[in-house]
Symmetry: C2
Amino acid sequence: MKNIKISALFLVVGSFILNAQSLKSPDGKFEMSFQLKEGVPYYDLKYQGKTVVEESKLGLRLLRDGDIQFASEIENKDQKGKNLDNGFTKTAEKFDAKNETWDPIMGEKKSYINHYNELAVTLDQAANDRHIIIKFRLFNDGLGFRYEFPEQKNLNYFIIKEEDSEIDLPTDMKAWWLAGDYDSQEYKTQTTQLSEIPAQWPTSYDGNASQTLIKNAVQMPLMLKKEGKDQMYINISEAAVINYAAANLELDATNFKFKTHLTPDGQGAKGYIQTPAVTPWRTIIASPKAEEVLASKMIFNLNEPTQYKDTSYIKPTKYMGVWWEMIIGKSQWAYSTANNVHIGKTDFTKLTPNGKHAANNTKVKEYIDFASANGFDALLVEGWNTGWEDWFGHSKEFVFDFITPYPDFDIKMLNDYAHSKNIKLMMHHETSGSATNYERWADDAFKLMNKYGYESAKTGYVGNIIPRGEHHYSQWTINHYLRIAEKANDYKIMINSHESVRPTGLSRTYPNWVAAEAARGTEFEAFGGNNPDHQTILPFTRFMGGPMDYTPGIFQTKLDYYFPGDTRFVKTTLAKQLALYVVMYSPLQMAADLPENYAKHMDAFQFIKDVAVDWDDTKILSAEPGDYIHTARKAKGKDEWYVGGITDENARNFTVDFSFLPKGKKYEATVYADGDDADYIKNPQSYKIYKKTVTNKSKLPMKLARSGGYAISVKVIK
Amino acid sequence: MKNIKISALFLVVGSFILNAQSLKSPDGKFEMSFQLKEGVPYYDLKYQGKTVVEESKLGLRLLRDGDIQFASEIENKDQKGKNLDNGFTKTAEKFDAKNETWDPIMGEKKSYINHYNELAVTLDQAANDRHIIIKFRLFNDGLGFRYEFPEQKNLNYFIIKEEDSEIDLPTDMKAWWLAGDYDSQEYKTQTTQLSEIPAQWPTSYDGNASQTLIKNAVQMPLMLKKEGKDQMYINISEAAVINYAAANLELDATNFKFKTHLTPDGQGAKGYIQTPAVTPWRTIIASPKAEEVLASKMIFNLNEPTQYKDTSYIKPTKYMGVWWEMIIGKSQWAYSTANNVHIGKTDFTKLTPNGKHAANNTKVKEYIDFASANGFDALLVEGWNTGWEDWFGHSKEFVFDFITPYPDFDIKMLNDYAHSKNIKLMMHHETSGSATNYERWADDAFKLMNKYGYESAKTGYVGNIIPRGEHHYSQWTINHYLRIAEKANDYKIMINSHESVRPTGLSRTYPNWVAAEAARGTEFEAFGGNNPDHQTILPFTRFMGGPMDYTPGIFQTKLDYYFPGDTRFVKTTLAKQLALYVVMYSPLQMAADLPENYAKHMDAFQFIKDVAVDWDDTKILSAEPGDYIHTARKAKGKDEWYVGGITDENARNFTVDFSFLPKGKKYEATVYADGDDADYIKNPQSYKIYKKTVTNKSKLPMKLARSGGYAISVKVIK
């Protein structure tokens, strides 16, 4: 009897063990558990024994195998059995671990540490004689997981109806979120409790050139804070979105449960998969300290190393642009008064110039003069090419050819002129969302760039995507961005994409895709305006997966300078604009204002001229999402550091502790700070500049004005 | 008083005249009237005073101007005022005429006569301060009309919801029709009265790789016959479908009224128009004689002359193919047993050959030997390139690269071998409907063709179109076919497109687009089967807008020869197969059977070897749609004629009158006729061949078996 009882107990215990598995992070603080409950997979996450993510379901629902017909045939209610979300048994688990460092070509540090423990569970779905793998990687900064679909007899092609990966949070939390959308991330970040999201959602967005809202959904990266006891900062995002739709998160606001919501194509299908295949990684970065979330490189670590053979052409870029003056309305992208042009047919030399075309020989040369004299790498010129007269709002497929300059833009002369002054022009490829057209012209467009010595292109996707029906974050469009990056690599060209999908660590695999906008940038200060806390949030959200071309550096923040009575203004002080170069990481940074505004403040401009954009090291000194960020970074290959601090609509004090400096050296710190009477509304251009000698023992008290900041360049005294 | 009365009368008469306009054909037999009734445009057509088309409405409905959003936003019920179908006044009319001949590069005659009277009415829509033009061209063989949208202040961009061009017939009529569809024309032609179409429609189609039926609609070209007194044969079609969707016809079966129904994109929009723009021509060819409908070149006349600079590479092609043996199931396109391959990643040399791959070096050489020995210009080889293992049914975008041969197809060796035997290989580009992928690879694909000396490519579109949501006949896809034709011209390549849109006379403008399938061809004899009257109908329908690659020439009509017990068979006699080369015009003709079957009937095969495919002259001797066609054609540049006659499921007699021959010459006629006991079911291979000397006074009685025919080569005796 005893034997039988013991055996039965063992069996019970054994089966419990067999169906549940756990994983710890290298430092043991995180623990993740995986279990099957009645054939349905779940996971959870704890930090030092406290629940970060409650038991959350995993799985995918599928449309029928094979060729998908049109919308009316997509719903297949009979296909319950064929979903990849039930009926599983675990047939294998495999543990693995990695501890490596790798050097990004450009980054916030010279080397990133990639250290994790891994668990891959093989789940067999007997009813359909097929299996999938769910792979978990647990880092010291959190969890990543993805689905893998090995090539096998009964799983070759399938179409995803929806991925249902849940992240079930234990309590209500503070959240910094954007309204969910298939086409735009250019909304103001909302700061509310999770439970308040449904009520806030309807007013959480403004109009956009291309938008498709998803009710009660939010975007990723999503930043959360569990306040009070066992405080945790949590960031939810995705890594390595390749040949897969980008995801939003649906919210069950009663249970504080998020679930992935993929971007569909025009027919409602959410992914066309051929095995072997993997999904993106769903990432949950968490720490009691906000600074450690900001410092996390998990999303990059989860991306594959690049296969590019030659990456020597990929380098940091500081640039100015013939751009802001069009954004504010002082001049135009278009050359003529026409409102209806046919690329390849219209003779642009016969059109009537509108007199406001910015990208003309005279003006571009002036910008070249200023930018080159001040040591910039490149000058962006928008509006250089034919087609701007009717580029937007008409679903015009053949909207640009990317190779024909306007009559007043002498592409050869201007590039020769720029090169004679040791600066390059930066190409502009506005696609107007017409991705099929851009692909058609990409080879010729890149050949033109090679011919005239352009090294980088800013691309744009303003407007609905063509193929019509696809969204900016649909699988097809994701693959389009990657095709462009790969083709650009063939031509040794760097890409900075605007209105594209936000990066998900892909700069590791596609390092020439150096930056993206893909969020509400500085230009919106001239449109609906940005909130004063905007820049204290974005590094915790948009920037987590990769750099953003935020285009900072506006010195003339009030636009009534140009247009009397104009109430628009950039909602920061001038000093805060300088700090952004440090606080917001990008290897491609713009000094966005007009030369004349810098000319009036060459003392402040010196910081922008000095600041590096590529780093050996980064220290997040202090940060709270939505409130303040203070960051110090060491310039790559130099004995120089740059410190930047910003605040929201509240004035703040902060003491910069220079203990990050190496011992035994002296440095000259040049401090650019808000003036004592500075205020982002009343006195934004009040700033002071002073020098101090500092060592690693120094501490410097800083006063930040409302939506103010400071920037410090720290150069070794030899 | 009198004066006032007269003036009033004059005013009434005058306004009647002002609002109605008429046009006559050059020979005066046709008369067309245009009128506005309460601001709505109408036209009608009479032949010798009898109504051919009753008063029929014209116009278009528009979606809102500007950027179209996704499906839910397309319906804009407020936009009544903005349609282009009401509120018009006629502000101008312009008459014109043309009488020219032009020489097609390849055709049924050396020269075509383009002779018409034209009326262009300008219609002003005061409420929206914009105008359109409706242009009518009246030929001796019927009417063409189209809409024109001049570039103007208030008409620059619009999106078509539907074009509502009506063709209101006066009575019930006999109709030869296909079920309306956005993706396929591969259905069996139905023969019913118009009034019977709704009842017949549900059973009028079978399954297809890609199909989107439109209930109670029919396709164009549509063939009609008003029987009885004032008999008329009427063909309704369209010409010059460029940058516009192809149309089906909705039928109001009670009123015998057709209306255009354009092919939508995935969002339901039916055309994105930028002015200046024109629609395709809607064509109504009519004659009391069926033969004159067949002889009509109106659709070609309504197309623009080509802008191609060099057309010397465009020439007639007689070809054989490694093809039929796959169609019947004797061998395969695919090389290996795999069912899941990744182009660019899978190493095909490591896959297990399936042992049935037809496009292998040994077999291709055998076909080359036979085809070259028998004077053919080219040999098509399908299944030469990687990707066939999983090419269909998976919505796989990157399905082929069009440049990588299978391991057993040595592209260099085989092309060298072919060229050494004075024959070319014909390229095959099956796109699987993945048009975006084909465009991506087209340059490399065409460069490969140039490298190895391929002159022509058969393209295929089997499966749903990618961009997903577009249809085979959507505006986007129409433009895709044209982009491919234009790019092929850059590489001096001829295109023969299968499963594409049916031609609408475009071979005048794009002469390298030499042929298309775009209908139910010979291959369907091995699938669902074709009706015995099929080939007596197609010249009146499918062929009206351009050649069809019908791929005739099957000698081994019964497939139980390959597969004992197989009930499939080609539903014609062997002699009828020979006649098809004359009755069905194409400058690109295939001898579709396997060499071994020709080898067994080299006497009959001689006709295929002899027959021309490009012509100085064509005489339709006698024809009745669905019953019989007898045609004589003069070979271009030779003193040779070819005569062909076919019948439906009924045996028939016909006397060939050789009065088309020039006087005073003697010709040797070699007659290939059904044997006395021939029958398409019981004895299809019974044929007799005999020679006769003929002059233009000769008459030759022919007996055609059930679904039989005869072919005669007529060569001058010097």
